[in-house]
Symmetry: C2
Subunit: 201 residues, 2 copies
């Protein structure tokens, strides 16, 4: 991981970036102003931003444009990265049609599925291939990022197959703990758990 940033800090960087971009302004912004707007502590904001190349100035804070650039650089928004989707069901469909990935330099290039009725079609302009061609296509694309939109019961075997193809970063929507070999990173989004967490807050 870049400069040993804690995951908790890394997770907040897109929040700062979205907020700063939403201001649609120029000039300076202080860590205090960011902290107040986001309901966070100012020290925390300053610490998080210190992982990027942004240089705050005493009393005035950061040049907004520079801070946005520093966050974008840190998050790799300017590095083009290819990602594949496995599982062209409703969630896979929704993601293939969503334009927001390009803000982070990520291009969803294709999907894989086992369903004959989906293979060969395009969704959101992206081709759906058979999982049988997974290795061939992923190696050709040189994609290392994958989004798992498959049912829980097949998630582990799909993850195993993906890592065999050279994928080393998996965003997993299935509510299961994936076991992966060293060097492979998994990030989970369990939507139902998130709603339960919210409900318990």
């Amino acid at each position: 991981m870049k400069s040993d940033i804690p995951v908790t800090s890394l997770q907040r960087l897109p929040v700062y970036l979205n907020y700063l971009k939403s201001l649609d302004a120029e000039g300076y912004i202080s860590s205090g102003a960011i902290a107040r707007a986001l309901g966070m502590g100012e020290v925390l904001v300053r610490k998080d931003l210190a992982y990027t190349s942004a240089q705050g100035r005493t009393r005035v804070g950061y040049v907004l444009e520079e801070l946005i650039s520093a966050l974008e650089d840190y998050l790799g928004c300017n590095d083009k990265k290819k990602a594949v989707i496995v599982g062209a069901g409703e969630l896979g469909n929704a993601l293939l049609s969503y334009g927001g990935f390009s803000n982070y330099g990520i291009e969803l290039v294709c999907a894989f599925d086992t369903d004959e009725t989906k293979i060969g079609k395009t969704i959101g302009g992206k081709p759906v291939y058979s999982v049988e061609n997974e290795k061939e296509e992923i190696e050709k694309l040189d994609a290392h990022l994958a989004v798992l939109c498959v049912p829980a019961k097949v998630a582990q075997s799909v993850a195993d197959a993906l890592t065999e193809c050279g994928v080393n970063k998996i965003l997993n929507f299935a509510p299961v703990l994936l076991r992966v070999k060293e060097g492979v990173t998994v990030r989970n989004i369990d939507v139902a758990a998130n709603l339960a967490i919210l409900s318990s807050m």
Copy 2:
């Protein structure tokens, strides 16, 4: 929030729960075994579980069944809660068709949309209503949980309307910072940001 649990701890409870349920076993499990399986520190696991009613015993650990029950109780899996979806686009569709919410006692009861071609239809067996009937329906359902699956540019106004209807917990998929009145809790899932974070790890 229940017993002042930190959000970071609360977020891990569904992870423990999923893991323990996946074991499909009986008998005892120690915090050490859980920690090793999930790649976490044992002290952290013990601290997190101490927020629930589960009682670990020296040397043997927790009775698996009791620990699962304690986590389910804490996460309100046995309290029935109604949630509504706003935005019956592809993501809203995917969520309406997903069965995993019931594990947490959450029932997605209906969706709201502005699109005349969707209103009056059912998705995953759930009716799609016009946003014009939002207040009436939400009050009738006595729903306090909502999932926002709308484009970023309308997310704030949709959130405002929802809180006017008595919704006080919003799961927001739009990549914007929602401003809500006191007593309303927002939790964000920014899928693109998650993929960018994963890519930066």
